[in-house]
């Protein structure tokens, strides 16, 4: 599938059109934290023929292993979380009107008026909002809290129960050089990891961990890392890009990442101070192969790396993310070019990984 000359090591792979279709399917599918079944099924279908070993653990992580040619090869874990932020139904107020809570981090200001899908049968619904005609200027100054909002599915929604999940119902779109959809965080990582697994180099044992419950506290990664205990770990995710000018036209110094600047190498977040040996490994590879990359600004937030790097006696871990605008809203936007470069950098990173990286002490 990869258009790559095997004879020239410097040739770089290209993401096939099929992976965009897969991203579309994954973005449209529903998998809020704790309820990742649907996503896991798609991944199983995609990787069952290429993985040497495919298991689902107790918490729900899907672990796919591709063996190396040799016995004593490095064991490299690549983690991508399957779950997305969303909602949970917590009370039935009247026929078709439901109270709900947020699962994972969603800004309450981005809720009112959004179309959602609810429950096991993806029943269509909407998070209701007062029409502008009827609200007073004073009311419009107030941010609506989740507890004051309701999901309206229309009467007769018998299948919806308390404890059911809901998520945005945005359909995936191609917009010029960008893609737009819900749950791009982190179906982009899932789609990338599937492609990496299909094209795994035989020099390493590649352990692909499709993790659960990242959005509620890196819970899947915690147990996956303990169980796998790899020599190295890479985490691939989608990271916020708040890269447009500030509303008051002051200098934007807090963009985190910028679209169109390539994949983002993490330096520091709430849970991880990234291993400088691996930061340098990725940036050196980017320089050598002419793959664009950027450093994610040190700031709050985090990835599965937070749980993985302090597992057991410590695991050398790095995060490489695709920058995404409007993440954790109904519609996030990424650049296809950033994804391409992300895939290339991950491909060469897996191809060249070597225990010598750790020769120099951290």
């Amino acid at each position: 599938m990869i258009k790559e000359e095997k004879s020239t090591i410097d040739s770089l792979p290209v993401l096939p059109e099929s992976s965009v279709q897969l991203l579309e399917e994954l973005s449209n599918a529903v998998g809020v934290s704790g309820n990742e079944n649907e996503i896991r099924s798609i991944i199983r279908r995609e990787v069952s023929s290429v993985a040497d070993n495919l298991t689902t653990d107790t918490i729900g992580n899907l672990i796919a292993v591709k063996h190396a040619k040799n016995d004593h090869a490095l064991r490299v874990m690549v983690a991508a979380h399957m779950d997305e932020v969303g909602f949970m139904i917590v009370d039935k107020e009247s026929d078709g009107i439901f109270k709900f809570q947020v699962v994972g981090g969603i800004d309450e200001r981005a809720l009112a008026g959004k179309a959602v899908q609810v429950g096991k049968k993806h029943a269509p619904g909407v998070i209701g909002a007062c029409p502008v005609h009827l609200s007073t200027p004073a009311e419009r100054e107030v941010i609506l809290k989740t507890e004051n909002l309701r999901i309206d599915t229309g009467p007769g929604s018998k299948d919806i129960e308390i404890g059911d999940y809901a998520t945005f119902s945005t359909k995936f779109k191609r917009m010029g050089g960008s893609f737009c959809g819900k749950a791009i965080d982190n179906r982009i990582g899932v789609a990338t990891l599937i492609e990496l697994l299909k094209n795994a180099p035989d020099s390493i044992e590649l352990i692909a961990a499709f993790t659960v419950q990242e959005e509620v506290g890196l819970r899947g990664a915690e147990v996956a890392a303990y169980n796998i205990n790899p020599d190295f770990a890479f985490v691939i995710d989608c990271t916020p890009a708040n890269d447009q000018p500030a509303w008051d036209h002051s200098e934007n110094t807090l963009y985190r990442t910028k679209l169109g600047q390539g994949p983002a190498i993490y330096t520091n977040d709430s849970r991880t101070l990234y291993d400088h040996r691996l930061i340098r490994y990725l940036s050196d590879l980017g320089d050598r192969y002419g793959i664009r990359y950027q450093y994610r600004q040190p700031a709050s937030g985090g990835t599965d790396a937070g749980a993985i790097h302090t597992s057991r006696s410590g695991i050398p871990t790095i995060s490489l993310s695709v920058p995404g605008r409007y993440t954790h809203t109904a519609a996030s936007v990424i650049r296809k070019a950033d994804w391409e470069e992300h895939y290339r950098l991950m491909t060469v990173a897996l191809r060249h990984i070597d225990a010598d990286i750790l020769k120099e002490n951290r």
Binding site: T253, L254, N268, L273, S313, G314, N361
Partner: protein, 330 residues
């Protein structure tokens, strides 16, 4: 000992980049340790002795890392915006000098028309003397430490990074002074304490100790109009009862008290409302480890001028040597 403390405090070692301070400590303890390891997280682990009848495997953890800054954005004019590494108070940053690990020095200031309110971290920047992004020798992700010289006041000493190089000093002096012990001792000079007790967590997993003790500073409550508390400078080592990360194991507290009694050392009991030490991470590793903390009262913690009393340091070494030389009953 003050010379060594000066060297320890003046060597940079911001969380995540502890290699330079680690080398200083390694050279200091090498002749006195039976085995030295450096792990994935950069922890320096020195073993002394082997477990004998009545002895235990004991982990003693002092963190090597110090708080600092990390470059987050270089603007067109060459100013370096920063994120904090560990609990840096922006109040202590106006006019402070910092040194990036590549050697670049700079002055910290903040976006403010008048110096009349506490800046947020987002408003802090470092002026490294560059006049454009292109000529700025710092890039996003580079770390810096505060620059502040060592001050010897006799009984009292002042420096940046007393937290927790003073703990490192106590551990080093203890390793040097220990003669014979039934215990197998693992002295950990840990990494990344200031960002969440991370080095202690992974090293404790490797060591799998039967008891854990952190050596760290605690907030001295003997300065004007401070938050009420017990620890005071010069009143002896503090035995921690609790902080935000730990309720010390009662038998570890007992063992520390008994050691103090045996050696005739005056101690203070310490209850801290917030914060944490490596002991908080050690206690939760694997199936749980009885853990406690020996603290040294320190004024102006997390400012570039932290102050301790040298007598507290000497007494802490004596307490620890006695504690670790004898069987511990848990």
């Amino acid at each position: 000992m003050k010379n060594l403390l000066e060297k320890l405090t003046q060597t940079p070692g911001v969380s995540g980049y502890e290699n330079e301070i680690r080398e200083v400590i390694r050279k200091e303890i090498e002749p006195f340790a039976d085995d030295i390891q450096i792990d994935v997280m950069g922890n320096l682990i020195a073993r002394k002795g082997i477990k004998k009848s009545g002895g235990k495997r004991i982990m003693i953890s002092s963190h090597m890392d110090e708080i600092g800054l990390m470059a987050s954005h270089i603007n067109d004019k060459g100013f370096v915006y920063v994120a904090t590494i560990g609990g840096v108070n922006p109040l202590t940053c106006f006019g402070a000098r910092v040194k990036f690990l590549n050697g670049t020095e700079g002055v910290v200031y903040a976006e403010t028309k008048k110096m009349d309110k506490v800046p947020t971290v987002d408003q802090l920047f470092v002026d490294v003397g560059a006049d454009s992004a292109e000529t700025c020798p710092v890039k996003v992700g580079d770390e810096a430490v505060f620059v502040r010289s060592f001050l010897d006041m006799g009984n009292r000493v002042v420096s940046k990074a007393i937290d927790d190089r003073i703990g490192c000093l106590v551990a080093i002096e203890t390793i040097k002074a220990l003669k014979d012990s039934p215990n197998e001792l693992f002295f950990v000079f840990s990494t990344q304490e200031e960002v969440g007790l991370r080095g202690a967590k992974t090293s404790a997993f490797s060591i799998n100790p039967e008891m854990g003790i952190a050596i760290d500073v605690t907030i001295a409550a003997d300065v004007p109009h401070c938050e009420p508390g017990n620890p005071a400078l010069g009143k002896g080592p503090c035995i921690k009862v609790r902080d935000g990360s730990l309720i010390a194991h009662p038998k570890v507290i007992d063992a520390m008290k008994k050691a103090a009694d045996r050696a005739g050392i005056e101690v203070q009991m310490e209850v801290l409302r917030h914060a944490g030490t490596d002991a908080g991470a050690i206690q939760l590793v694997r199936s749980g480890v009885p853990a406690g903390c020996l603290s040294i009262a320190c004024r102006y913690v997390h400012s570039p001028s932290e102050m301790v009393d040298i007598n507290d340091v000497n007494e802490s070494v004596r307490l620890l040597v006695d504690l670790l030389s004898n069987p511990v009953d848990l």
